[in-house]
C-alpha cells in the first residue's frame, strides 16, 4: 500500500525543489529565508526518519525501497535508487548534520538566498549519492557536489578562499575522472549488454588484472575524497578557509561519501582485487593516522588543526575497510557516523569561537575559560569524544577497527602488529594534540589585549546545536547496539 509511493525519490528531490522556490521569497529580511530553509530541512529530516522507522526492516540483508525508472535508455542510464543498512545510517547522518548546519549558519548575512539555496542543493546531492544504485547516477551525484561547494567556499570563506576553492574543485574533478573511466570499463567488460546497475555488476566476474585496474581507478577517486594520503592536501586548505557551517557539511558528510563508495563499490563488486590491495589500504590508513596527528600537533591555526584531526580519524575508516573482516567494516561504518557527528561539532565550536574572538590562531587565544564557560565545557566534551574516551562513540568504533585488524586471518602476524602499533601511536598523539589545544585555548593567563566586551558566551541556539550533536555520540557510545545491526 505505501510501497507504491516513491519515498527515496521524494527524499532526494524535495530539498532541491524547495530550494528553487527561494527566489520567490522576498529578499527584505533574512529571517524569512532562514526559517523557511530550516523548516524544509526539518521536514526532510522527519521524512527520512519516518521512512526509516516505518518502512525499513533492520534485520534483512538485501536492499530495500528499490525504485527504478528508465531515464536515458540508449546508454542504459537508469534512475535506480535503493538503500540498505549502510546507506540508511549515512542518510540519517546527512539529514541530521545538514539540518544542524543550516541552523548553525544563522549569523551569515551577505547573500543569504544563494547560501541557503546552495545548502539545499548540497542536501539533495548528498542524499543522492547514498541512495543511488546505478553507477552513472552515483557519478552524477558525486560531481553535483563540486559547484555548490565551490560557490559556498568562494563567497563566504576566509582569506585564502579562492585558492582553496579552486584547489578543491580541480582535485575532486580530477579524481572523478578516474571514477568515470573505471565505471565505463566495468560496464563494458564482461557482458554484452552494457549495464551500470550495481546489482548486475555484482553478478559479473572479471579477469583479475582488469579488476585490479578498475579498483585502482575507483580508489583514486575515493582517495581524493576520503581522504587517503597522499591525496589529502586539499582538505586542510578547504576546511581551513570555509565558513564553519560549510565545514560541518564537508567534514560531516562529504568525507563519508568516499568511505561509502569504497565499501559499496570496491568491497561488494571487486572482491578479488580487494583481497590483493587490502593490505595496502591498511598500511596507508595506519600511516595516515599517525602522520596526520603529528602534523596536527604543530598547527597554529585552530581550524587546520581540527582538519588534520579529521584526516587522522578517517584513517581508521581506511584500516577498517582494508581489514577484510566483518568487525573491521562495522568499525569503519561506525567511525564514519561518529566522526561525522564529532567533526561537525568541533568545527562548529571552532567557528563560534572565531565569531567571538575573530582569530583562529591558538597563540592569541589564551585563557578564555573563565569568560566562556559553556564554550569551554562543550569544547572539552567534544575533544574528549574525538580522542575516543570510553563511553563515547569514538571509542567503540576504534575498538572495533582494532579488533578487526587483529582477528583477520588474511594477513601475517607481524604485519598486524605493525598496523596496530602505528594506529596506537596515532591514537595517543591524537589525545596529545587535542588536550594541548584545549590547554592553550582555555587555561593559562589571559592575554593582555583581549577586550572583554566581545566575549559573549554561547547563545541558546549554539548550545542547542551542540547538545543535539552530543546526545547521539553519548548514546552510540553507551549503547552501540543502536547502530550496529544495520
Amino acid at each position: 500500500m505505501i510501497n507504491n509511493v516513491p519515498w527515496l525519490t521524494t527524499i532526494v528531490f524535495f530539498p532541491i525543489l524547495a530550494g528553487l522556490m527561494i527566489p520567490i521569497l522576498s529578499s527584505d529580511g533574512n529571517k524569512i529565508i532562514r526559517w523557511y530553509t530550516l523548516g524544509i530541512c526539518l521536514l526532510e529530516f522527519s521524512l527520512i526518519t519516518y521512512v526509516f522507522y516505518c518502512h525499513f526492516q533492520i534485520d534483512s540483508q538485501s536492499l530495500q525501497l528499490l525504485e527504478t525508472f528508465s531515464w536515458i535508455d540508449s546508454i542504459h542510464f537508469r534512475w535506480a535508487l535503493g538503500i540498505d543498512g549502510l546507506s540508511m545510517g549515512l542518510i540519517l547522518l546527512t539529514g541530521f548534520v545538514t539540518t544542524l548546519a543550516t541552523l548553525g549558519a544563522w549569523p551569515i548575512t551577505p547573500n543569504t538566498r544563494l547560501f541557503y539555496f546552495l545548502m539545499l542543493v548540497m542536501y539533495s546531492g548528498q542524499i543522492g549519492v547514498f541512495v543511488s544504485r546505478d553507477i552513472l547516477l552515483f557519478f552524477l551525484m558525486w560531481e553535483l557536489e563540486l559547484i555548490p561547494v565551490y560557490l559556498l567556499l568562494s563567497l563566504w570563506g576566509g582569506k585564502k578562499r579562492l585558492y582553496s576553492a579552486t584547489k578543491f574543485v580541480l582535485y575532486t574533478a580530477g579524481g572523478s575522472i578516474f571514477l568515470l573511466l573505471a565505471a565505463l570499463t566495468m560496464s563494458f567488460s564482461g557482458s554484452d549488454v552494457p549495464s551500470f546497475d550495481i546489482q548486475d555488476s555484482i553478478d559479473k566476474s572479471y579477469p583479475v588484472s582488469l579488476e585490479i585496474l578498475i579498483y585502482i581507478g575507483f580508489l583514486v577517486a575515493y582517495a581524493v575524497k576520503l581522504p587517503i594520503i597522499p591525496f589529502h592536501t586539499w582538505l586542510p586548505d578547504t576546511h581551513g578557509e570555509a565558513h564553519y557551517s560549510i565545514c560541518m557539511l564537508l567534514a560531516g558528510v562529504l568525507l563519508k561519501m568516499g568511505g561509502y563508495g569504497l565499501i559499496r563499490i570496491n568491497l561488494e563488486l571487486l572482491t578479488h582485487a580487494h583481497f590483493f590491495l587490502g593490505s595496502g589500504l591498511m598500511l596507508f590508513g595506519a600511516i595516515q593516522i599517525a602522520y596526520a596527528s603529528f602534523i596536527s600537533m604543530s598547527q597554529h591555526n585552530l581550524k587546520k588543526r581540527i582538519a588534520y584531526s579529521s584526516i587522522s580519524h578517517m584513517g581508521f575508516v581506511t584500516i577498517g575497510i582494508g581489514s577484510l573482516t566483518d568487525s573491521g567494516i562495522d568499525g569503519a561504518m561506525l567511525q564514519m557516523i561518529s566522526h561525522g557527528l564529532i567533526g561537525a561539532a568541533l568545527f562548529f565550536l571552532a567557528g563560534t569561537c572565531y565569531d567571538r574572538t575573530r582569530t583562529y590562531l591558538l597563540d592569541q587565544l589564551g585563557g578564555v575559560a573563565t569568560t566562556l564557560p559553556k564554550l569551554f565545557t562543550m569544547f572539552s566534551i567534544f575533544s574528549l569524544a574525538s580522542l575516543a574516551l570510553l563511553g563515547m562513540s569514538g571509542f567503540v568504533s576504534e575498538l572495533l577497527v582494532f579488533i578487526g585488524v587483529s582477528t583477520t586471518e588474511q594477513y601475517s602476524f607481524p604485519f598486524k602488529i605493525v598496523i596496530t602499533l602505528v594506529g596506537a601511536i596515532g591514537t595517543v598523539s591524537t589525545s596529545i594534540y587535542l588536550l594541548s589545544m584545549l590547554r592553550r585555548m582555555f587555561y593559562g593567563y589571559r592575554l593582555v589585549n583581549q577586550s572583554n566586551s566581545y566575549l559573549i558566551d554561547l547563545g541558546p541556539r549554539e548550545l542547542f546545536i551542540l547538545i543535539c550533536l552530543f546526545l547521539p555520540i553519548l548514546g552510540i557510545g553507551s549503547y552501540p547496539n543502536l547502530i550496529l545491526p544495520i
Binding site: 527566489p23 520567490i24 531515464w71 536515458i72 535508455d73 540508449s74 546508454i75 552513472l136 552524477l140 551525484m141 560531481e143 553535483l144 563540486l146 559547484i147 565551490y150 560557490l151 568562494s154 563567497l155 579562492l162 576553492a165 579552486t166 574543485v169 580541480l170 574533478a173 580530477g174 575522472i177 568515470l180 573511466l181 565505463l184 570499463t185 563494458f188 552494457p194
Partner: protein, 501 residues
C-alpha cells in the same frame, strides 16, 4: 507559352520542390528584404528583421514536418535524417543569432539591410551544404557560406579590428577552399569525370590509385579542417573571433562549424571507406591536439571572445570523438546530440556577452568582476551556460559529453576519451575563474561597471516575464535549453540514431 509549360513540367519532374521548400522560403525572404530596403530607403529596420525571423520560422516549421516524413531524393540533394537534422540545426542557429543582433542595430543605426541579407545568405549556404552530395554543389555552397561570413565579419566598417578580422578570414578561407578544390579535382579526374559523390565511389578503383586518393584525402582534410578550426588549421579562429562584432561571431561560430561538420562526415564516410583506418588515426590525432591546445591556451586568455574561440576549438575536438565512434547501431547519435547541445551552450554564452559589451564597450574578462551585484539575471544565465560548457552535472553539457565519452569508450578510443576527460577538468578551471570573478564582490568595482545600466525593458524579478527585449528572450531560451535538455536527452537520442550511411 509552350516552352514555359514544358520547362515547368520538366522542372517539376526533376526537382521535387517540397524537399527544398525551406531553402526556397529563405530565398524568398532574402529577396523580400532587399526589395523592402530599396523601397523604404533605409528606414523601418525592424520590419526587415521581422521578415527574416518569419522566414526562418516558416522554413523551420516545414523542415520539422519533413523530418517526420522522409521524402524521396534527387540527384543534387539527398534527404535523409542526417541532412535534415543539420538543416534544422542551422536554422536554429540563424534564428537565435538574429534575436541577438536586433538590439545593437537599434542602438547604433548603421547600415541595416545588409546584415540580415548576409545572415540569410550564410544560413542558406549552410543549409545547402548540409544536403549536398554533388562536388560542385558542395563547393558552391561552401563558398557561399564563406563569403557571406567574410562580409559579416567585416560588417562594422569603422572598426579597424573588424577589417583585420575579415581580411584574415577571407585570405585563409580562400586558401583552404582552393586546397579543397584541388582534392576534389583529383577525385573528379580519377573517377572518369563524375561529380556525384555516389558515382565517384563506384567509379574509382581504389586499389589502383591509392596514393593519389590519399593525397586527395589530405587536401580535402585541410580544406574542411579549416572550417572546423581543428588543430593545426585553427590559427584564424582567435583573431577573427576577437575582431568581428560579437553577434556575428555568435552566428558563424555555430553555423559554419555545424555545416562543416556535416560536410566532413559525409565526405569522409562516403568517399574514403577503404582508408578508414588511416583517416581515423589522423582525425584522432587532430582531435587530441585540438582538445589539448584549445583548453591549455584558453586558460591564459584575457579577452572573453578569444577565450571562447579557444574553447570552441576544444569543443570541436570532443565532437570529433563522436565522429570516430560512429557505428552501425547508433549512427552519429553522439555527435549530433552534442552538436545540438553545443549550439545552445555557445549561443547562450554569446547572448550574454553581447549586451554586456554593448553596455560597457569592453571584452576584458577582468571587467566582468562583480557583475552579480548589478545584473543578477545576466550573471546567472551566463553561469549556467559556462557550467554547461564545462560539463558539470546536472546541466546538459554533462550529459552530452557523457554520451560522447560512452560511445567513444565503447568504440575503443581509450586515449581520446582519457585526454578529453583530462582537458575537461582543465576547462572547468577557466570557466570557474570567470564565474568566480563575476560572483565575488570586489571592493572597488571596475570603472566600466560603475556606469552599467540595465536595459530599461528588463524587469529584474525572475518571475515576471515582461520580455520586451529579444536578447533577453534568446538568453532565456538558451539557458533553459542548456539546462534542461540534458535531462530529456532520450527523445533527442532516439531521433539522431538512424543516421548512419
Amino acid at each position: 507559352m509552350n516552352d514555359i509549360n514544358s520547362f515547368l513540367s520538366r522542372l517539376n519532374s526533376t526537382i521535387n520542390f517540397s524537399t527544398i521548400l525551406p531553402e526556397i522560403i529563405l530565398i524568398v525572404g532574402l529577396i523580400t528584404i532587399v526589395i523592402t530596403d530599396l523601397v523604404n530607403k533605409g528606414k523601418n529596420a525592424i520590419f526587415l528583421y521581422k521578415i527574416f525571423l518569419i522566414s526562418t520560422l516558416v522554413s523551420m516549421g516545414i523542415l520539422f514536418y519533413q523530418l517526420i516524413s522522409v521524402i524521396a531524393f534527387e540527384d543534387l540533394y539527398t534527404n535523409n535524417i542526417f541532412n535534415n537534422l543539420f538543416r534544422f540545426f542551422i536554422l536554429i542557429c540563424s534564428f537565435i543569432s538574429v534575436l541577438l543582433s536586433v538590439d545593437y542595430v537599434l542602438c547604433s543605426k548603421i547600415s541595416l539591410a545588409e546584415f540580415p541579407l548576409f545572415k540569410i545568405s550564410a544560413g542558406l549556404g549552410g543549409m545547402i551544404l548540409s544536403c549536398a552530395t554533388n562536388l560542385i554543389t558542395i563547393y558552391v555552397s561552401l563558398e557561399f557560406l564563406a563569403l557571406s561570413s567574410c562580409f559579416l565579419s567585416g560588417y562594422t566598417k569603422r572598426d579597424i579590428r573588424s577589417n583585420e578580422a575579415s581580411m584574415k578570414f577571407l585570405l585563409m578561407s580562400g586558401a583552404s577552399s582552393s586546397s579543397l578544390l584541388y582534392g576534389f579535382s583529383l577525385l573528379y579526374g580519377f573517377s572518369d569525370g563524375q561529380v556525384q559523390l555516389d558515382n565517384i565511389i563506384d567509379k574509382i578503383s581504389f586499389s589502383q590509385y591509392l596514393p593519389i586518393i590519399c593525397i586527395s584525402a589530405a587536401f580535402i582534410l585541410a580544406g574542411t579542417a579549416f572550417k572546423l578550426s581543428l588543430f593545426p588549421f585553427h590559427q584564424w579562429t582567435p583573431d577573427v573571433y576577437e575582431g568581428s562584432p560579437t553577434r556575428v561571431v555568435a552566428f558563424f561560430s555555430v553555423t559554419s562549424k555545424v555545416a562543416a561538420l556535416s560536410l566532413f562526415t559525409r565526405l569522409f564516410r562516403l568517399i574514403f571507406p577503404y582508408l578508414s583506418n588511416e583517416w581515423h588515426i589522423v582525425v584522432e590525432l587532430l582531435a587530441i591536439s585540438s582538445m589539448i591546445l584549445g583548453n591549455l591556451i584558453a586558460v591564459t586568455q584575457r579577452s572573453f571572445k578569444r577565450m571562447l574561440a579557444y574553447s570552441s576549438i576544444s569543443q570541436i575536438g570532443y565532437v570529433m570523438i563522436g565522429i570516430l565512434a560512429a557505428d552501425l547501431e547508433n549512427g552519429y547519435a553522439s555527435m549530433l546530440t552534442y552538436t545540438f547541445i553545443y549550439i545552445f551552450m555557445n549561443l547562450g554564452t554569446f547572448a550574454r556577452i553581447t549586451p554586456f559589451s554593448l553596455r560597457t564597450g569592453t571584452n576584458n574578462i577582468r571587467d566582468y568582476a562583480g557583475l552579480y551585484m548589478k545584473d543578477p539575471v545576466l550573471t546567472f544565465s551566463l553561469v549556467l551556460c559556462l557550467l554547461s560548457l564545462g560539463g558539470i552535472p546536472p546541466l546538459s553539457g554533462f550529459f552530452g559529453k557523457h554520451y560522447l565519452f560512452w560511445h567513444g569508450w565503447k568504440a575503443g578510443l581509450y586515449i581520446s576519451v582519457t585526454v578529453a576527460l583530462v582537458t575537461s577538468v582543465i576547462s572547468i578551471y577557466y570557466y570557474l575563474k570567470i564565474i568566480k570573478l563575476m560572483l565575488t564582490k570586489t571592493t572597488n568595482l571596475v570603472d566600466t561597471l560603475k556606469t552599467y545600466e540595465k536595459q530599461k525593458s528588463l524587469v529584474s524579478s525572475v518571475i515576471s516575464t515582461k520580455l520586451k527585449s529579444s536578447v533577453e528572450m534568446a538568453m532565456i531560451l538558451c539557458a533553459l535549453a542548456s539546462t534542461l535538455s540534458g535531462l530529456f536527452m532520450d527523445p533527442i537520442i532516439k531521433i539522431t540514431r538512424n543516421t548512419f550511411f
